[in-house]
Amino acid sequence: MKHPGDLLSAYVDGEASAAERRMIDEHIGECAGCRDDLADLAEVRGLVQSLALLEMPKTDTASGIARRLLRPALAWAFSGLAVAALALGLAFAPGESESTFDLDALRDQHTARLVVDPGISTVRGGP
């Protein structure tokens, strides 16, 4: 009797083919070891799936992304004009955001990025 092995995990994930499912159904009717394995795998799968889907911490993701975006742009900032444009652009950006994903802030800070680096295409999907 050939044991299904890793097909058992595919079975609990709904990733086994119809033929494989039939074979496993028949097999576990006769094989207590594989029946126990199947129960263990389903239990472990359920435990990992039961882990809470965590919220992002309440830190300023928008500013973090903007900082990273602006990092390469510092090379452009050798001219006073670029520095001034950057300052103006950032002046329009909201301050510290408490939200997980403050998309308005992100969009505004992207706009600031576009001022110093016009090679970046416009943000898609904006209002």
């Binding site: 990992v48 799936q49 999907g125």
Partner: protein, 166 residues
Amino acid sequence: MSDEPVPSWEEVAREHGRKIYNFAYRLTGNADDAHDLVQEVLLRVRRGLDAYRPGSFDGWLWRITRNAFLDEVRRRKRRPSVPLPEDDPGGVDPSPSPHDELAKVRLGEDIQRALLRLPYDFREAVVLCDVVGLTYEEIAEAVGIPIGTVRSRIHRGRRMLKELLT
């Protein structure tokens, strides 16, 4: 593999940011590392969206996510003063709560610790399957391995978890 419309960058951030965070958190057990990874991934998505052609968006997104994660691990290996994911089990003392909630928190911590003890390939496969919810085909595309290998890694990862949690 279905053809899906190309989402905007904001849609990616809104709809996938939390899952990217959870992917990184479950692989590292570290909230700061996970938060940094979300920023890095969203930047890479921002740069890559123009070149993206409709196909399996999840496969594309999670390939970027995985590559960003591995780049970060490699970068930290070059700066060993920063703990590597494997060195930092990241247990958090549970805050006071009712008994059943406390039990749930402790169980969650046990599962997280057990995940962190799995070799990376197995941990990644289990997290992509059971935390992120990708199909085997999407995992194969994201990781760049055959579906048979995905199946084997998930299976072996779960068996190891069972041993660790027993």
